[in-house]
């Protein structure tokens, strides 16, 4: 009857065969859409405003650019950490994951500092509403991402994962990459597009 009757099949939650992997991709689609709409709101309102835009003049690029690099480096670490699991280097994986988390936390600290330096707030004008809402949404995602990475670190340290079973790292990792990729769009919109 079937040609595939007697094959070995992997059991359980295996990397990209796992339901969780597909689930996180679907989550990324819908969250990606969410950020798409957020940026749409920004451009829609920016295109029609009569105000000086951004009201406080062009944003300074130095700190945000450094922060962008920090976030990207952290993404690279997460990638490397997963690689290490596959290569059965759990200790390395743990170390690199720790670094990724530290970089993530740095991003949050610097972003909060950046917030503190603004002379406008969430409610002072339309631009402020947009700026703080968009970066706020993103910052929430970063914080969730950091919590996820911390959990992965704990699980790694408990010896839960090896080269055969580590779907959680693949799934959590891709979420982190997504959060970082979104930042590139947010950065381009809020910091680079006013220069155009």
């Amino acid at each position: 009857m079937n040609s595939f009757d007697h094959h070995f099949l992997p059991v359980g939650s295996v990397g990209k065969l796992s339901a969780g992997w597909w689930g996180v991709l679907a989550l990324i689609v819908t969250e990606g859409a969410l950020f798409g709409y957020l940026l749409f709101v920004y451009f829609y309102l920016a295109a029609q405003t009569d105000e000086h835009w951004p009201p406080e003049g062009l944003p300074s690029l130095i700190v945000p650019t450094i922060n962008t690099v920090i976030l990207l480096v952290s993404s690279a670490f997460v990638w490397a950490s997963e690689r290490c699991i596959r290569l059965r280097q759990i200790r390395w994986s743990i170390g690199i994951m720790t670094l990724a988390i530290i970089f993530g936390i740095c991003f949050v600290m610097i972003q909060l500092m950046e917030w503190g330096n603004k002379i406008y707030g969430l409610t002072s004008n339309l631009y402020g509403s947009l700026y703080f809402t968009i970066t706020g949404f993103h910052l929430c995602h970063v914080i969730v991402g950091i919590v996820v990475l911390m959990l992965l670190l704990i699980w790694l340290s408990l010896g839960y994962f090896d080269d055969k079973r580590h779907a959680a790292v693949t799934i959590g990792g891709v979420y982190w990459h997504f959060v970082d990729a979104v930042w590139l769009f947010v950065f381009t919109t809020l910091y680079l597009s006013p220069y155009l």
Binding site: F8, L9, T30, L126
Partner: protein, 667 residues
């Protein structure tokens, strides 16, 4: 995708194995073992913790139906008020709240959830799987739906219900003109409900692509599956728009942001963009699965397969795609002012072509088949008629010139009820008649069923057809009363009488359900002699659905011998046994080849508690209890962490022998 093969070290049974193949007829040892593995605990524990998609599906159906009744009662009060001119049963503000809550209830709390109920119950049964891809997420999505419904009704008893219409335009819903909590309840409730809908959609999409029985290639899935897929994809892409819109509105109202605030450069039209980006596809989302119900069930009563399966499947997907293009076209081609054109105008124009395909397919199926006039058939045939009428009035409002004339009149109300009741309520009731024996093991009463249909059909047409005329006579929608001099008296009286007749029809349905639950004739596994997989197991189905994972060779596994198309035959008696714990088969997305043995999670309390804490978090936001909100956020996180903690039974963790000495497989 990499499939492990025999060259691997075959020693570790726990990580990969050749699934046992065989039979498990009912009463055999294997079957008993399966039943034991999959059953839920009895009593309240099982009730709170179950993740059985069949239970969840029924809960969705019952809850959504209760919302239909609530919305219906609101409509009847509205109709009582409008039956005669110059009535004072309702004050204007009460009227506003009633029609708003009626719209909200029907559109958000009834129309999609009831279809999710069908899909939840049927999805794995149609696809030949033992479970949904994410059973716990499924339970979560139900609990949040329930809590969101309660949330949106919270301020109703206080006389502070949402009152700006279901599409809630700013500035009337903004902080200046609407100062009470009315709109905040709606706004936060919608964000909450959005979480539920999104979780449900993820589940449908992943289950469809990963959990079909081997051999059920993508071109063999039932149309209901296509409909729900289209709806789910649309939801994933568009729900964020409406959730964001409502969240920004809430921030404008409570935190003082300025997104919609004209005085500070905000734009009210932004609301309409975000709302209708979601709104266009949503209307399809609440009709496509219902059309799927008809496409799958109607053929059973015509004693032949659906005519034009491929065309209908494609039309379903095309409708959804056009749904997005319509909105884009609104945005770019016609410029801003026309964006505020009625939703139903453009939607009808776009939907008409693929819909026509479906209509012709149904008519052809009836035409060339040998119809059996059972109650479900009546509902499905009635649906086709209403669909055509609703479609015609839709094309009428879609013409811009007429639109200007008819927009915001009762013509629109008539049209939208023909579409929504015709395409949603009639198939839903027909669907319940059809699957009731599967749900409960008993048939519904035919005689009451026929009464049910005719009373509903007559009441419906009497209640809503005259609304077209009221609209042409210029009666605006959303007015709480009218003067006798306008000449709208008789149409309104007829409309109101019709509404109450329709309500009697629904009452007959309820009575039929109650009587049949107790005394209905017992149903065998396939009482209608239907063709699809859900009719291959006992009624109601056992907790594990399929004793063996079947191999499917056609679209009509139970009619193959009769139809004699092709030489391959589905095999339902013999298949993969998979009984080392909660197991089912994972297959490849398009051609459904076995890829992996999934370990499914068992019952769990975490979904209930995550749902509860998240809902309380929204309550905290509503009442400005900020520290309570923070506490609930932490509580949700902790519960989620418990939920996600990698488990050995799910094979999410390593099995390596050194750190973890051999531990027997789960039960």
């Amino acid at each position: 995708m990499a499939i492990s093969n025999m060259t691997h070290n075959p020693g570790d049974e726990r990580l990969e194995r050749v699934p046992d193949f065989g039979r498990a007829p009912s009463g055999s040892d294997e079957e008993m073992r399966l039943a034991n593995i999959w059953r839920s605990e009895p009593g309240w524990r099982g009730w709170l913790s179950t993740v059985d998609h069949k239970t969840i599906g029924l809960r969705y159906l019952v809850t959504a139906f209760v919302f239909l009744l609530i919305g219906g009662i609101e409509a009847l009060i509205i109709r009582a008020q409008l039956a005669l001119p110059d009535q004072t049963l309702l004050a204007p503000e009460q009227y506003n709240q009633l029609f708003t809550m009626h719209g909200i209830t029907m559109i958000f709390l009834y129309a999609l959830p009831i279809l999710s109920g069908f899909s939840n119950y049927l999805w794995p049964l149609l696809l030949g799987s033992r479970d949904m891809a994410f059973p716990r997420l499924n339970a979560l999505s139900y609990w949040i739906f329930l809590f969101a419904g309660i949330f949106m009704y919270m301020s109703f008893p206080l006389g502070l219900a949402p009152n700006a219409g279901w599409f809630n335009y700013v500035p009337i819903s903004g902080p200046i003109y609407n100062t009470g909590p009315n709109i905040d309840v709606f706004a936060l409730g919608m964000v909450l409900l959005g979480i539920s809908t999104t979780a449900g959609s993820v589940n449908f999409v992943v289950t469809l692509f990963r959990m079909r029985a081997p051999g059920m290639t993508i071109n063999k899935v039932p149309i209901l599956v296509w409909g729900t897929l289209a709806a789910s994809v649309a939801n994933l892409v568009t729900i964020p728009a409406v959730s964001l819109a409502f969240f920004l509105l809430w921030m404008d109202r409570q935190l003082g942001t300025q997104f919609f605030d004209v005085a500070n450069g905000g734009k009210p039209l932004l609301w309409q963009h975000l709302f209708w980006i979601f709104g266009h596809p949503w209307v399809y989302a609440i009709v496509l699965p219902a059309m799927g119900i008809v496409s799958d069930a109607l053929p059973t009563f015509c004693r032949r397969p659906l005519v034009g399966y491929a065309a209908v499947a494609l039309a379903t997907m095309a409708t959804m795609l056009i749904g997005f293009v319509v909105w884009m076209h609104h945005m770019f081609a016609t410029g801003l002012p026309t964006v505020s054109l009625s939703l139903f105008g453009a939607a009808s124009m776009a939907i008409s072509i693929p819909s026509a395909v479906a209509v012709f397919a149904w008519i052809a199926t009836i035409w060339v088949g040998r119809p059996v006039f059972k109650t479900p058939f009546l509902f499905f045939a009635g649906f086709v008629i209403l669909f055509v009428i609703g479609g015609l009035s839709g094309v009428m409002v879609a013409a811009i010139s007429l639109n200007w004339q008819l927009n915001e009149t009762y013509f629109v109300v008539a049209h939208l009820h023909y579409v929504l009741l015709g395409i949603n309520v009639f198939p839903v009731i027909g669907g319940i008649y059809y699957w009731f024996p599967k749900f409960t093991g008993r048939m519904m009463n035919e005689k009451l069923g026929k009464w049910n249909f005719w009373v509903m059909f007559i009441g419906f047409n009497m209640g809503f057809f005259p609304m077209h005329i009221a609209g042409l006579l210029g009666m605006p929608r959303r007015i709480y009363t009218y003067s006798s001099r306008m000449g709208w008296d008789s149409v309104n009286l007829i409309t109101s009488i019709g509404s109450f007749i329709l309500a009697i029809g629904i009452l007959i349905f309820l009575i039929n359900v109650i009587i049949s639950l107790k005394r209905g004739e017992k149903a065998n596994s396939n009482p209608w002699d239907a063709a699809t997989l859900e009719w291959s197991m006992s009624s109601p189905p056992p907790p594990y659905n399929f004793a063996v994972i079947p191999a499917v060779a056609s679209r009509h596994p139970l009619w193959e011998d009769r139809l004699e198309e092709g030489i391959r035959r589905s095999n339902l008696a013999e298949g993969y046994l998979l009984m080392k714990g909660h197991e089912t088969l994972g297959t490849s997305p398009i051609d459904a080849k076995p890829l992996v043995i999934f370990k499914m999670p068992g019952d769990s309390y975490t979904p209930f508690f995550v749902g509860l804490f998240v809902s309380l978090l929204f309550l905290g936001l509503l009442l400005h209890w900020w520290s309570f909100t923070g506490l609930m956020a932490v509580a949700s996180c902790i519960t989620l962490i418990i939920w996600m903690w990698p488990q050995k039974t799910l094979k999410q963790r390593t099995e390596s022998g050194t750190t973890y000495p051999f531990q027997g497989d789960s039960k």
